[in-house]
């Protein structure tokens, strides 16, 4: 693999918002059409989650990108309604016609909550939180997701890149540990740049068959580095639990919330499932509340 396409360890510098603007948002705005043409196949866990939702539910896709999850579920199209939120305006232009039907998309920030609190029945955050460059911002993004869904029945699925990549993955991950993370702390992921090679030849492939010199090809292939925080095993679940606790939610199943006093509802969050799928970690949560 050429050096330009290898994943590199990085240290986050600058104001995190400025850093993400440069190393995430502006990159996606530049590569939007090419990126979108490579993103069409839904991951099985996400497809299952969206298939399991009751008809009539409304949901949020926080960091929707090209909107590839907006048309799901495939087996019951139109049975639920997913609104897409993203920071990249150019990806939203693509997302608003995902699947050939007009979708609802909103330009905004996953660290803000431009909705009525608890307005959604479900929310997904797929390959998004790993673009936030500090632990505090990643936790805030999870909190915004939890706050967006119904306190009584809301369900959410979070999906991020894992350090542990499967052998079929096209991603090449540096084996040495990022220097700013102590090796002893296994719950810390790695901060990396993942290159995106935007080939002008692939954009206008059939237009010209004239062979180009090596230099011209190198110039034509523009490389964009995207910032990622690659999650370690257990890190995502820990992040979700911390985010929920900070919101005053009990971690556990609804039965464990009984026995409080007064008419104040006890609110909680259950980890419905968590695991690793095809080089990603995921956590699915369900909110509950009970009057004791």
């Amino acid at each position: 693999m050429p050096a330009a396409t290898a994943v590199k360890a990085v240290t986050v510098s600058d104001d995190p918002q400025v850093y993400e603007d440069e190393h995430v948002h502006s990159v996606y705005d530049e590569i939007a059409p090419h990126f979108s043409s490579t993103r069409y196949k839904p991951w099985p866990i996400i497809a299952q989650f969206l298939s399991s939702l009751p008809t009539g539910w409304v949901g949020l896709d926080s960091g929707t990108g090209n909107g590839k999850y907006l048309p799901l579920p495939q087996d019951r199209p139109g049975s639920v309604w997913t609104v897409g939120l993203d920071r990249s305006r150019n990806l939203l232009e693509i997302a608003q016609n995902a699947g050939g039907i007009q979708r609802e998309v909103v330009w905004g920030n996953v660290l803000e909550i431009p909705w009525r609190a608890g307005a959604f029945d479900y929310a997904i955050s797929i390959a998004t939180i790993h673009h936030l460059s500090t632990p505090a911002r990643r936790k805030l993004a999870v909190q915004r997701l939890i706050e967006s869904i119904s306190p009584a029945h809301g369900r959410a699925l979070v999906y991020v890149w894992a350090i542990e990549q499967d052998e079929l993955s096209k991603r090449s991950i540096p084996t040495e540990c990022s220097t700013n993370n102590p090796v002893t702390d296994s719950a810390k992921g790695k901060d990396v740049f993942v290159p995106w090679v935007l080939s002008s030849r692939s954009a206008s492939e059939e237009k010209s068959k004239i062979p180009t010199s090596h230099d011209a090809t190198a110039e034509a292939n523009k490389v964009f580095n995207r910032y990622y925080h690659m999650f370690a095993q257990g890190e995502l679940r820990q992040l979700v639990e911390e985010a929920a606790r900070d919101l005053g939610l009990l971690i556990g199943s609804a039965g464990e919330g009984k026995g409080g006093d007064g008419d104040v509802p006890v609110r909680g969050l259950e980890i419905a499932q968590d695991g690793w799928e095809r080089s990603n970690y995921f956590v699915e949560v369900r909110r509950w509340q009970s009057i004791s």
């Binding site: 918002q17 400025v18 603007d21 440069e22 948002h25 502006s26 705005d29 009751p54 008809t55 009539g56 539910w57 409304v58 139109g78 049975s79 639920v80 309604w81 609104v83 939120l85 920071r87 305006r89 150019n90 939203l92 232009e93 608003q96 039907i101 007009q102 979708r103 609802e104 998309v105 909103v106 330009w107 905004g108 920030n109 660290l111 803000e112 909550i113 431009p114 909705w115 009525r116 609190a117 307005a119 959604f120 029945d121």
Partner: protein
Amino acid sequence: MVRLITHNLLACHVKGCTSNNFPLQFKDVQVELREAEFNPDFLRGFIPRLEWGALVDAARQLGDTSLPAEPPEMLDDDFLQKLHHVLLEVHIEEGAMICPNCNHVYPISNGIPNMASAYHQPIHNVVN
């Protein structure tokens, strides 16, 4: 797109603006009507999730007075067709939404609302 299904979810989130921050008021809007597939099962399940009064008011602001002040008990096809039209076939393409409390302006351009509030705009030029 901003259709009324989305408008019914949006609220102002400027720091400190926590009451009377919903629903946002339309200003100088351009509306387009486009047919969408009718899905009565979705609508029946979705009705309890709506802030009904806000939907009726928003529709009236856009000149559509077809919805009753309260959702009817009998959800017949005639009613569901009207609801379908109001929720899913009225597209606000240009204009703005304004917070009734703090007057923050959320612009709508090419059907996409800019709901960013407290943070700065992206540093690069947006290519449309």
